[in-house]
Amino acid sequence: MSEPAAIPAHRALGLTDAEYDLIVEKMGREPGPVELSMFSLMWSEHCAYKHSKKLLGQLPTEGRYLLMGPGENAGAVDVGDGLAVAFKVESHNHPSAVEPFQGAATGVGGILRDIFAVGARPIAVLDSLRFGEPDGTRSRYLLEHAVAGIGHYGNSIGVPTVGGEIYFEPAYEQNCLVNAMALGVAPHDRLTRAAATGPGNVLILFGALTGRDGIGGASVLASAELGEDDAAKRPTVQIGDPFAEKKLLECSLELLDRELLVSLQDLGAAGLTSSSSEMASKGGLGLDIHVDRVPLREPGMEPFEIMVSESQERMLCVVEPSKVDAVLAVCEKWETTATAIGEVTDSGHLRVIQNGAVVGDMPVIALVDDCPLYDLDPVKPTEPIYPAPPRTLRADDDDVQAILPELLGAPNIASRRAVFEQYDWLVQSRTVRRPDEADAAVLLLPDGAAIAVSIDGSGRRVAADPYRGTVEAVFECAANLACVGAEPLGLTNCLNFGNPEKPHVAWQLTESVRGMADACRALDTPVVGGNVSLYNESGGGPIYPTPVVGLVGRLPDASRAGRLGFALAGDAIAVVRAASPSLPGSELAKLRGEALPDGLPERNVAALRGAIELVRDAVRNGIVRSAHDVAEGGLAVALAEAALAGGIGAKVDLAAVGGHKRESKPLDVQLFGEGPGTFVLSGPRELLSELKAPDGVHLTVKVVGEVGGDALEIEHEGGTLAWSLDSLRDPRERGLADALDDTVRLDD
C-alpha cells in the first residue's frame, strides 16, 4: 500500500494509535499488511458503528409482528398468510458525491442484495435524496445523475421504485445524501440468516469477478470527511451491473428454494472481509479463505486487495460438501461464476491463505466485536449552527394570494413527476397506489391485503429540534400510512449526520435517536434495522441532521387503499387536527429567508396517535373518498394538492377549521403553518359528519367545506381567496421539471 512514508500505515488507513495498539494486544503481535487492511475496514465507523452502537441500543426492537430484527442483513415482519416482508434503508452518500450515477446505482444494488441475502424477493425500492438548492449547476447535476442511476439499476433489474422523497437545502450543498430503501417478500420458512455453521462446510463465492473496485472504498470513505483530494478516490469508482445482479438474484432465490444453502450473505462495503467475518462471527466459528481461488477480473491482485475489494454483484454462501455440485450447477444455469474459496473451521479464526501460505490469521472476535465503542460528549450548541437561507420568496410577506402558487412551485413542494417518471413503479404487478396517487405506496399481497410503505425525514425540522423533529419524521410516516388505511408493522432508518466527534453533532445524534425511540414506542412499532452514515461534512460544515425513516405497514383490503385526491363534486371536506400549526421552521419561513428556530413546539403525542388511528379507521371503513396529511406548505398546500390530484376544486371555510387552541392565528399561519397531526379528508357528508374524536383525546374533527368546481376557494375572516386549478397546477408541475430539463446526460 502506498502512503506517504511520514504517516504510519494504520493512520493512513483511518485507525487511531490507540486502536492500533489494541489490535496488537488482541493479536499478540503486530498485524501484517493483509491483517491491518482488514482490521482497518472492520474497525471503521461504517462496519463497527464505533460512535453510534451505544445509542442504537435505545431503539425498541420488540414487536408483535417482528420476525427478524437488527443484526441481520435486513429486518423482517409478518404480513400474514405465511408471508414475511423484509426491508432496510442504507446510505450511499459519499460514493454518490464522487460519481452520482454509479454511486446511486450501486447504492440500489447494495440494498437489494441485503434483501435477497435474507431470502426475500425484492418487490420495491424507495429513494431518499438531499441536495443543495436546484438553482446550482452542481446540485442539478447530482440530482439528474443520481435519479438516473437509481432508475437505471431498479428499472433494469425489474424491481419497481414506488416512492421516495427529495429535499433541497443549502446545508446539503457540499454533501448530498443518497439513501435507498428496499422491501422483499418471502415465505416465513425461506427467511435466511447469515451465520456460518458446520465446520467442514464449504464457502462459495458467486457472482461477478473480483477487481480493484472501491479498494478502501465505501468503508474508508464513509469514515473520513471528504477532503479536497476526492479525485484521488476516483480511480476506484464502482460500476453497477444490474444485469449481473438480476442473474445473481434469481440464482440466489433458486438456491434457497432448492434448500441447497446453509447460509447466505451479500458482499457490501468491505467486501469479502466483512461478509466472511460477519458470517463466522454469527456462527461462532472460523473460516479459511484461499484468496488464490477467488476469480479475478484483473491479474496480479494482492491478497489484501482481494480481501477488501468492493466489486459489486457478489454473494457468499455456506454449503454442505455433498451439495456443492448442485449449487455450482444452479449458478451455471444463471451464467453466474461460482467458486469454492474456503471452508468453515472450528478455529474461531479467520485465516487468509495464498497458495498454501497463511498471509492473515485473526481471531474473528477481535475483528468483529473488539473494536472500541466510543461515548459521545453531546453539547447543545449555544450559537445557531446553520446560517439563515437567502430570501427567495418573490411575493410580499402578506400577499397570501401570490404565496400559494409560489410555495407549490418551491423545490421542496413542487411535483416530483419529472423524477418518478424515470422510475418503473409498476413492474411485478403489485402497485395499487402509484406515486402522486396517495401519501404512501401500496403494494398488493397474494391474499388481497396490501403493504404500505413511506419514507421521510425533514432535515430542516430535525436541525431546528433534533428530538421533536425526529418524532415528527416518524409520525409523518405513520400519517402517510394512515392515509391509505395501513397500520405500522416495523420501521427502518438511516441516520445521516456530521462528525460525531464534534459536541454539537453528538448532541444532534443523541437527541435524534432518543426521539426516534420515543416515537416508535408511542406507535408500538419496532425498529427492524437500518444504517448509520456519519462524517457528512466536507467544506461547508455539517449537513442538517437527517434521520431518514422508512415505515412499513399493512392494510387488510387493498381495494380500500386510500387516495389523496378529491374524488366527487358535492363531497364534504373535513379537517382532523391534533396540534396547531406554526410557521417557524416551515417551508414558507425558509422562502422568507428566516433562520431556523431554536426548538419546535411540544406536541401531545397521544393526540397525534389518536388522529392517525381515526384517519386509518375512516379509510379502512370506506367512510372517506380521499385522505391527505398536511405537511410542507401547510393546510393550503395540502388542499391544493388534493384538488390537483383529483382534478376538481374545493370551497373551504378557514374559520370552521378551528383547532383546539381557540384564539385565531394570523392568516399566513392558518394557511401555511406546519406541524404534525393535521389531515384533510373528503367523503359523503352524512358519513364525514359522523366522525368523532375518541373521548379524552385532544383532537378536533370539523367539516370545513365541499368538493367541487375548478377553483380552490378559501374563506377567512377577511374575505375569500380563490385560485383557478390551472394557476396552481402550472407552478407545481414546473417547479422541479424546469431544473431537470436543462441538464444533459449521455448514457452512463
Binding site: 464522487v98 460519481e99 454509479q102 461477478a208 477487481g211 480493484r212 473496485d213 476516483r234 480511480p235 469508482v237 464502482q238 460500476i239 451491473d241 444485469f243 449481473a244 477480473r297 484483473e298 466489486s311 459489486q312 451464467e335 444533459v744 449521455l746 448514457d747 452512463d748
Partner: protein, 80 residues
C-alpha cells in the same frame, strides 16, 4: 474541422457491455475474440479543436471512469 472522440471505459473498470458482447460472439460462430470493450464515438465539426479536451472533460466523457482519445477524421483510416 471534422473531429472524432473515441471514449472507452478506463482500464480496470468493470465493462459489463464488453463482457456481454464477448460472451455472445462465440455463440454466433465467431471465435478468437477477446478484450472486448464497448465505448462511445462522438463525431463533430469544431471550429477550434483545441477546445476538444475541455469539451470531453466537461460533457462528452466521464473522466472518472472513461478515457478518451481525440482523432481528426483525416487521420482515421477509411471504411473497409
Amino acid at each position: 474541422m471534422k473531429m472524432r472522440v473515441l471514449i472507452r471505459p478506463k482500464a480496470g473498470i468493470l465493462d459489463p457491455q464488453g463482457q456481454a458482447v464477448e460472451r455472445a460472439l462465440p455463440a454466433l460462430g465467431f471465435d478468437g475474440v477477446s478484450q472486448v470493450h464497448v465505448g462511445r464515438l462522438v463525431e463533430l465539426d469544431v471550429a477550434d479543436p483545441a477546445q476538444l479536451p475541455a469539451m470531453c472533460d466537461k460533457l462528452l466523457a466521464n473522466p472518472l471512469i472513461e478515457d478518451y482519445e481525440i482523432v481528426s477524421v483525416e487521420q482515421a483510416a477509411p471504411a473497409s
